[in-house]
């Protein structure tokens, strides 16, 4: 399927298909003009594989369409009218296989921990760094994001600063091991995303962590 759609631009491909379906009448009718715009909604699932409800809207002057079902497709006809129909996985693959195959793999997430009250990783966490670098390097343009999190002891602003400081400390370790700084990002999320929800001012070591995203 991929191979086939690679040989011809997709619009030509569809034009050719329509011509073939028109049969052997002579002279062949001119191919219909391609739609001015097409939008197709693809299904999405969460990490557990359950469908997530999603939608897109398309507005063209006074006309508009809401797409909210998997493979719903809005497209202009040869009179410029914006219509909607349901496409299919097969049609999307045939028409857009050359786009679909470029999708990068899903990101990987790993949690690293700090020594109590410090911006220094635990020895167990530090040992994981070479493997994380290897996994990022195996990806085309692979990046490492370090997202620092704190518990709820201290003010929100102080925790924003502390989480970023911890993230920067981990980024420095990746740099020191030779990972390209262009592809490293330190992010501080403060106390916004606790792994374990607590009341304010509660000490919770499990919330003092760095999330590593490899993408």
């Amino acid at each position: 399927m991929n191979g086939f759609s690679r040989f011809l631009p997709t619009t030509l491909c569809w034009g050719a298909l329509l011509l073939m379906l028109a049969g052997c009448a002579t002279p062949p009718p001119p191919p219909p003009p391609p739609p001015k715009v097409s939008v197709v909604l693809l299904p999405q699932t969460d990490a557990a594989g359950n469908p997530i409800p999603t939608a897109v809207s398309i507005t063209m002057g006074a006309q508009s369409q809401q797409l909210d079902k998997p493979f719903a497709l809005a497209e202009t006809d040869n009179k410029g009218q914006l219509g909607q129909r349901v496409s299919s996985a097969e049609e999307v693959q045939a028409r857009y296989g050359d786009v679909l195959k470029m999708q990068p793999p899903s990101p990987e997430v790993v949690v690293l921990r700090f020594l109590p009250g410090k911006s220094q990783l635990t020895p167990e966490s530090e040992q994981q760094l070479p493997d994380l670098i290897q996994r990022a390097s195996a990806r085309a343009g692979g990046e490492i994001l370090v997202i620092g999190h704190t518990d709820r002891v201290g003010s929100r602003d102080a925790n924003d600063a502390l989480s970023l400081q911890r993230a920067n400390a981990v980024v420095s370790l990746f740099k020191a091991k030779g990972f390209a700084s262009d592809l490293l990002t330190a992010i501080g999320r403060g106390e916004r995303e606790p792994a374990v929800p607590t009341d304010d001012e509660v000490t919770e070591p499990r919330n003092r962590r760095a999330e590593i995203i490899i993408r």
Binding site: V37, T54, V56, I58, V99, P107, G190, R215
Partner: protein, 153 residues
């Protein structure tokens, strides 16, 4: 063609709505995204100069991505949005703001011609109403979504 003035107005309105956002500090020359998988001819037009795209290379606000007949490429933007540009395409990252701490921001992608796939990232959840793709004739808005847009001139 009679639609054109109306569409331009719609584009202008989208742009105004996006630009009217409270300013979030953004370092100059900061990367908005990173190129991932690339195939065939893919270039970036920045400040009037055309540069070949490379995996691991950056895309900045205001850049244009142009692909040849056998060219295609994917990018991951800062908030995790995955943008794939298909063959024979020309796409501008007209506007991209994202604050990694608050996770707020806005995106405007202008598809001049060709095909893009967008799988929204964090902003698809935090600011879906501030993510727009425009084409010469239409405006596409999203809600936490994976979709493809194709525009023909």
């Amino acid at each position: 063609m009679t639609r054109q003035p109306f569409t331009n107005l719609a584009h202008a309105m989208v742009l105004c709505a996006l630009l009217a956002l409270p300013a979030i500090s953004q370092a100059a020359n900061e990367r908005s995204g990173v190129f991932k998988n690339l195939e065939g001819e893919v270039s970036v037009i920045r400040a009037g100069k055309s540069l070949p795209a490379a995996s691991g290379g950056g895309l900045m606000e205001g850049d244009r991505v142009v692909t040849g007949a056998k060219g295609a490429g994917s990018l991951i933007l800062k908030d995790g949005t995955v943008l794939t540009v298909g063959p024979n395409s020309s796409v501008d990252l007209t506007h991209y703001i994202y604050d990694t701490t608050s996770q707020n921001g806005s995106v405007l992608v202008n598809l001049i011609q060709g095909t893009v796939r967008m799988v929204t990232g964090i902003m698809g959840k935090t600011n879906p109403e501030l993510i727009k793709i425009t084409t010469p004739t239409s405006v596409v808005g999203v809600r936490g979504t994976d979709f493809i847009v194709e525009a023909t001139q």
